[in-house]
Symmetry: C2
Subunit: 143 residues, 2 copies
């Protein structure tokens, strides 16, 4: 077989990596008693409380989905729903200490990225970060 171009090889390798990444994340969450989606919510709250709407935007899903996700998280005391002082329609969702611990624990068990990146030497890590920055940076869509 002809050897594929670097671009095609990179595409295949990226697919494999994403596959492994998703699986590892789900496993890590599961070990802590969370679903991947729930862990993802905790992740989005780590830098401070957020409104339901903001979570829905960030997680690219319907607001009603967040309602249920947060309800389940709240039932397990990983998250608290509070009122917004300036707008009574808005709910502010915040991590509880237990939620913070759970999220930390998911991170601790989610070894895959650190492991994989750790296989590279510092110069290669620098290279990778540079390449990913070029790739991740979204094209300017606005005028």
């Amino acid at each position: 077989m002809a050897s594929p171009t670097p671009a095609v090889r990179a595409e295949q390798l990226l697919w494999d990596l994403v596959y492994a990444y998703d699986d590892a994340y789900e496993r890590a969450a599961l070990e802590v008693g969370l679903s991947a989606a729930q862990a993802c919510v905790l992740e989005h709250l780590v830098d401070g409380p957020a409104t339901m709407g903001r979570l829905a935007d960030e997680m690219l899903c319907d607001a009603s989905n967040i309602t249920q996700l947060v309800a389940r998280l709240e039932a397990r005391t990983w998250v608290e729903r509070g009122a917004d002082p300036t707008d009574r329609r808005v709910k502010r969702v915040a991590l509880t200490p237990a939620g913070r611990r759970a999220r930390r624990e998911v991170h601790r068990r989610f070894r895959l990225p650190a492991d994989r990146i750790g296989r590279l030497d510092p110069a290669q890590q620098e290279q990778l970060a540079g390449l990913l920055a070029l790739m991740t940076d979204p094209d300017p869509e606005r005028v």
Copy 2:
């Protein structure tokens, strides 16, 4: 704030990329009328038929899940379930022409990897493929 190490930056960028990747794949599939899981099944059949059990292994899920997934795909004539000539317990699942077209169409719409990799020049693509190869290559687990 102190600037994070390359490893930490790479980890963050990788997270973002995986997030975008998953979302883009699901969207691409949805546009063709498939769920991500269904598209994934078609993907696994592209190099030829597979048994239900093999699909379950590759997709890291229970066999009964594959039963239902394949049933839905079959109902829409994207795959066919045939008998194995040498073992009557085994079902061989194969893409139909329509299934092959659908899978192709998902790929056509799933622009993200090619787009992102396409932002790199050939030398960078080569670099990326090399780094990903180092990362993806699983540690030898067998003796």
